[in-house]
């Protein structure tokens, strides 16, 4: 990496270690208990609150930095960007704002890496890019990743966080659910291993497609996971929802998760699973 690229804005290659430099306060407050910390101590604690254990929202790149063996991540299709196919009012500006907000071109980061020495394909959705919504690019990148993994006989590890399909792409975004599910099926039929890690929140079209299609499906503690969002359900049935509804433990007890795994133990868990499926 040359010196010039160090100062490049919105670098998009994790492998080069380029990070988006933004002026922001170095204190972070826990989304659950409100305690304030400096960034370093949160970082040391796997992006969890040292006092209450609450999780800070993690960008896709930060996820991979925690998970991938150092220097092993190679991004795939990082240059795909959305087209406003329907000329949907305000979509162009929203895309531009999302890119500015999180320094990413789209809602998912895909690539290959090693985890505990095991080669794998990996994707992580981007919570700050239009709430991780799934449009053409998210669908296309994940589909390509599964096709690549099938070709290379590699497993896939995927982190989901999403509000669902991206409305601004209309029916085209709905079709991404079928498209990705088809690629997951082909990977599976070829004997490929797929592990999904569901993180807070994952709802709508992502829950109703690739989040729920892993050979092993795990979630971070306390994650909201559902098809319909809780507010929509409340408005529909006109009653308040039971405590813990649609949270990780709720899904575990109803048989839809293999395990709930704390953030600090994710790398060990995933490494172990990958070794089981070599």
């Amino acid at each position: 990496m040359d010196l010039k690229s160090l100062f490049k804005k919105a670098g998009n290659t994790l492998e080069g270690g380029v990070r988006v430099v933004k002026k922001r306060s170095s204190t972070l407050s826990c989304p659950r208990c409100g305690s304030e910390y400096d960034k370093e101590s949160v970082l040391k604690n796997y992006w969890a609150c040292p006092r209450c254990g609450g999780y800070f929202r993690m960008s896709a790149r930060r996820r991979l930095r925690f998970l991938c063996d150092e220097g092993t991540f190679r991004e795939l299709d990082g240059d795909l960007v959305s087209e406003d196919i329907l000329h949907f009012p305000g979509y162009g500006e929203k895309l531009a704002k999302a890119t500015e907000k999180c320094g990413q071109k789209e809602g998912v980061l895909c690539g290959t890496c090693k985890i505990d020495g095991q080669n794998t394909c990996i994707f992580a959705m981007e919570p700050d890019f239009m709430m991780g919504s799934m449009g053409s690019v998210v669908g296309e990148k994940i589909t390509r990743l599964f096709e690549y993994a099938t070709e290379q006989a590699l497993p896939v590890v995927g982190f989901t966080v999403s509000g669902g399909a991206r409305m601004q792409e209309g029916i085209v975004s709905l079709m991404q659910m079928a498209k990705v599910s088809g690629a997951v099926k082909r990977h599976s039929d070829a004997g490929g291993f797929y592990l999904t890690v569901i993180t807070n929140p994952t709802t709508g079209g992502v829950t109703a497609s690739f989040a729920m299609l892993g050979d092993v499906i795990i979630a971070e503690p306390g994650a909201l996971i559902g098809f319909a969002g809780p507010r929509v359900i409340e408005q529909t049935i006109r009653q308040s929802l039971p405590k813990g509804f649609q949270r990780s433990d709720f899904l575990l007890s109803h048989g839809f998760l293999d395990a709930v795994v704390p953030r600090q133990e994710l790398k060990d868990f995933i490494g172990k699973m990958l070794r089981f499926h070599v």
């Binding site: 009012p89 029916i171 079928a178 599910s181 829950t207 109703a208 109803h254």
Partner: protein, 268 residues
């Protein structure tokens, strides 16, 4: 009609529901119940029937006709067990080499505590996943409302047809307007922006055929003619799909969905 007027028409109850199609197009229909897991969802009707001389598996989302019937069918909003029943019948069709015909008419999958407890997301995902490689022809028709994932869960098919005034959308126009513009009264604008009408979907390459509708379904003669011509088209298409080599058929099904997307490479 504007797009939003068409959507309102699909909700008006002035159109035939799935059961009427089953009656008019097929004969010897035998309804088969239950998902063999939890229960029988009456929002989804399914079974075996003859299309001409060909045994086919027919699955439809049924909205019901009068108030009592609508309640009985949960207004055509399927629960996970409905999607699982559909999948069970599709696997059965695969085993006996029967083509599958699905009739989609739903505002969306059922939204409630029970649906979430029993894995609505998981049920829909399983259908998308399994239908993509189901080793028998699948033809889907959106006959009224094609509401989001709850519709797609029965529409991963070799051919997707839509009635002229039907719609098929990622989100209801009301939902879209209230999420994006905090104002569900802007539903008509949202409908225009989402372009969920048959003509737009045809232009976008999502559907293969637009089925012309009679001006008024309450006119018996017009309705009869409509069903008669639809039956002929269906028979021809099913016959064509059955003649296809299975590998070719499945590759084409994958490609039909694989190619959908609008993106570009950014070189900056």
């Amino acid at each position: 009609m504007t797009i939003y007027e068409k959507i309102q028409y699909t909700r008006s109850g002035k159109r035939p529901t799935a059961a009427a199609y089953v009656d008019a197009i097929f004969h010897d229909f035998v309804q088969l119940h239950g998902d063999r897991r939890y229960g029988d969802d009456s929002a989804v009707i399914g079974g075996i029937a003859l299309l001409g001389d060909t045994p086919v598996t027919v699955i439809g989302i049924e909205k019901g006709t009068d108030t009592k019937d609508k309640i009985q069918h949960n207004f055509g909003q399927a629960n996970p067990e409905g999607y699982r029943k559909a999948l069970r019948l599709m696997r059965q069709a695969e085993k006996f080499h029967r083509p599958v015909i699905t009739l989609v008419d739903t505002a969306g999958a059922s939204c409630g505590i029970g649906a979430e407890e029993r894995g609505q997301g998981s049920a829909i995902a399983e259908n998308l996943y399994e239908m993509m490689t189901l080793k028998t022809p699948i033809l889907s028709m959106v006959i009224g409302e094609g509401g989001s994932g709850g519709a797609l869960a029965l529409a991963v098919a070799d051919a997707v047809w839509m009635l002229e005034n039907a719609y098929y959308s990622v989100v209801s126009p009301e939902g879209c307007a209230s999420i994006l513009w905090k104002d569900s009264a802007k539903a008509a604008e949202a409908a225009q922006a989402l372009r969920p009408d048959a003509q737009s979907l045809y232009e976008l390459g999502i559907i293969e055929k637009i089925i012309p509708e009679p001006e008024d379904f309450s006119q018996e003669d017009a309705k009869k003619t409509f069903f008669h011509s639809l039956k002929e088209d269906l028979s021809k298409e099913i016959c064509r799909l059955q003649k296809e080599d299975l590998d070719v058929l499945l590759a084409a099904r994958y490609e039909k969905f694989r190619k959908v997307g609008a993106y570009d490479r950014n070189h900056h």
